[in-house]
């Protein structure tokens, strides 16, 4: 049995026993590993210690109960084996930056569970395979100079909407035959302040000095395009390679795992996909791009 399969077994076991009084030893047993070997391998593949993973999964699951029920917080704490209201609240605040009562209020205001970026979903073998086969685990810091990205923007709550935008942009570019080729393509994701549900704004765009607000008028007028101006940013650059369908894995790793250990915080609720060197955004199949996440020394 491969290490990945063994750890996936432990993840499945953990998932079905979140409300049971289990320990790291039980997780190791599910993987058929010794405790020492299990901890080492788990940490190497999941990038959380087994105990940290168990706690984060329990806390992530508790958000659903906080948002969707009016059960007492202390009851939810006991259900997930936190021992006391205080222990649960302290752990919750460490993970989500707010006490459970505040999360409950935010969700009530939003009319449903707030999709917090540190929320850790159940991890799968496919996820582990994806994040461990490439260089995305350790990003490089990078200064991103101000840019104007022009393209089509929409609210996206399902992956197919992103493909629709890129396909539509491709057709629009075809119609803009005059002038230089775009210098690079960018997908800009912007999360709303109220993160209810899974949606976000997505701009499928390109760098074009002829089309930014400052260059308006040099291109034939095109009413269908919008321009987003990004300021000077310091970003963590993650290299994504895989299919477009794997992008949620990469994003997930960045937010629920890398940020939870990094000394940086998210500077803005956004990220930038960059296809450089004339690369075109993918229609489907393989895609390789940089994912730039604005960072600062303090959490947003």
């Amino acid at each position: 049995m491969s290490q990945l399969t063994a750890i996936a077994d432990a993840l499945t076991f953990t998932e079905t026993h979140l409300k049971d009084d289990i320990s790291v030893s039980d997780m190791a047993e599910a993987a058929s590993y010794s405790l020492y070997h299990f901890s080492r391998v788990f940490n190497g593949l999941v990038h959380h210690t087994p105990y940290d993973y168990l706690m984060r999964r329990r806390l992530s699951e508790s958000t659903r109960w906080l948002a969707e029920t009016d059960r007492k917080i202390v009851d939810i704490a006991f259900e997930y084996h936190f021992g006391s209201h205080e222990t649960f609240s302290r752990a919750f605040k460490r993970m989500f930056g707010m006490p459970p009562s505040e999360y409950r209020e935010l969700s009530a205001d939003a009319g449903g569970p707030v999709n917090h970026p540190r929320h850790l979903p159940p991890l799968t073998a496919d996820y582990l395979k994806h994040i461990n086969q490439q260089d995305l685990l350790w990003p490089d810091p990078e200064e991103q100079p101000p840019i104007d990205v022009t393209g089509l923007m929409s609210w996206v709550d399902q992956p197919s909407a992103v493909s629709t935008l890129w396909e539509a942009l491709e057709r629009e570019l075809h119609n803009l035959a005059r002038g230089p080729e775009p210098e690079a393509f960018y997908g800009i994701i912007w999360y709303p302040r109220n993160r209810r549900g899974q949606g976000y704004f997505y701009l499928a765009g390109f760098l074009d000095p002829w089309l930014g607000p400052l260059g308006a008028g040099r291109r034939p007028f095109h009413p269908g395009l919008v321009t987003k101006t990004l300021p000077d940013l310091v970003c963590a650059r993650f290299v994504h390679s895989g299919t477009r369908g794997c992008l949620p894995f990469t994003r997930g790793y960045i937010y629920h795992t890398w940020f939870s250990h990094a000394s940086w915080g998210a500077a803005l609720p956004m990220e930038i996909e960059r296809w450089g060197d004339g690369g075109r955004p993918p229609r489907d199949g393989a895609c390789a791009c940089d994912i730039l996440v604005p960072i600062s020394s303090t959490e947003l």
């Binding site: 923007m153 929409s154 629709t164 539509a168 308006a216 987003k228």
Partner: protein
């Protein structure tokens, strides 16, 4: 109904946009389709910026722009952009995008009461045919200002619909500049 004919300089807007079929789930004038949701997102993005607020009495006019190119239209898609006019790029917050509308002549139709939610596109098309106009660009916008009291108070509301027009023999071939 006779519209006013007005010339406008280039308009720079800051706002948010939607691309796709806004009526995929719910048709018509309702706050529960993508356009209704886009208004909510616009106000969220504008909150605290001073650019716009939900009180129509004290707000700057808000434009709802519909862009419908022939290719997108063939798929039932259009772009809807909701924004406010700005003079300087400095006014754009990072949550918002910029859209430029060209300097062009507009036919401005004013609709009141139930007329606002009726299908006035037919009326606009008939007027253009009768008067020898056509769309100068494939977009239009609705202007909401202090005269609009809300969807629940249509009887005391009024909006302007701006249609970029050109005489049929005089269509701009290549942009506004």
């Amino acid at each position: 109904m006779q519209p006013r004919i007005v010339d406008k300089e280039r308009i720079m807007l800051a706002g948010v946009s939607f691309f796709g079929d806004p009526f995929a789930e719910t048709g018509g004038w309702t706050e529960e389709n993508e356009i209704g949701r886009l208004w909510k997102r616009f106000f969220e993005a504008a909150a605290g910026t001073g650019l716009a607020c939900e009180d129509p009495k004290s707000a700057s006019p808000i434009l709802e722009v519909h862009v419908e190119g022939p290719e997108a239209a063939a798929r039932g898609h259009r772009e809807v952009f909701i924004g406010v006019q700005i003079d300087e790029l400095d006014e754009v917050t990072i949550e918002m995008q910029v859209k430029n509308l060209p300097a062009v002549t507009y036919a401005v139709f004013t609709f009141r009461g139930d007329r606002i939610t009726s299908d006035w596109s037919q009326l606009v098309t008939e007027w253009m045919l009768e008067e020898g106009y056509r769309y100068a660009y494939p977009f239009s916008f609705q202007l909401y200002d202090s005269r609009f009291a809300g969807l629940d108070q249509l009887e005391s509301s009024e909006i302007d619909v701006y249609i970029p027009v050109a005489r049929r023999e005089n269509v701009p071939a290549d942009g506004d500049s």
